[in-house]
């Protein structure tokens, strides 16, 4: 199956792209997908502890099983609003 991966802010800069199309076996968990992306872009590893994860525009737990067509987002700590 194919999963769309969205990247923002620092992660976008590290990967050099706003998004990736990730090919994976059925039954892949969100955790396993993140492991794969971090393995391919090792400079993401240092951000692992503060990384937020979303699937289809909602925060999702890392044991979430992904489905064909899911949109996964890797989110740095958010910083909206006023300073």
């Amino acid at each position: 199956m194919r999963i769309q991966v969205r990247l923002f802010a620092t992660y976008r800069e590290i990967v050099g792209s706003r998004g990736l199309t990730w090919s994976a076996r059925d039954g892949l968990t969100l955790q396993e997908l993140v492991d794969g992306v971090v393995a391919k872009y090792p400079r993401l590893a240092g951000h692992r502890d503060t990384m937020l994860l979303a699937v289809n525009h909602d925060f999702a737990p890392s044991d979430r099983i992904l489905q064909e067509g899911d949109e996964v987002a890797l989110l740095p700590p958010v910083s909206g609003g006023a300073p």
Binding site: A9, T10, A73, S79, G80, G81, P83
Partner: protein, 132 residues
Amino acid sequence: MIDVRRARIDLEAVVDSVRRNDAGAIVLFVGTVRSEEGVRALDYEVYRPMAIKSLTALAERAKDKFGLTDVSIIHRVGRIPVGGDSVAIACAAVHRAEAFAACAWVMDEVKRIIPIWKTEIADRPDRVRRRR
């Protein structure tokens, strides 16, 4: 009214969007880009569909939690110069205590869960750094 937009925020329109004859109190919070040594603007980046979805859910939670008559949240994104407004939150309620409490809570939640990030734009082009 929920929106994430590049255009300047019209504060009067934000207040008007929560007006109702049974609400006696409206509290508007305006967050602006504060001047800081070496910074001339902030660039706000957004994951728009998730931001809209999260803000819509946040507005509903605020209405339930504080018994608001209405709430609006508008976040500006893109490049905002020092002194410009980045976010406006209007909460309307029958009595003012609920409107004040709700508006402060909504702003805390915006900072905590809405997928928006800012980058400082330096007054010298060789300096750029992220800021929480």
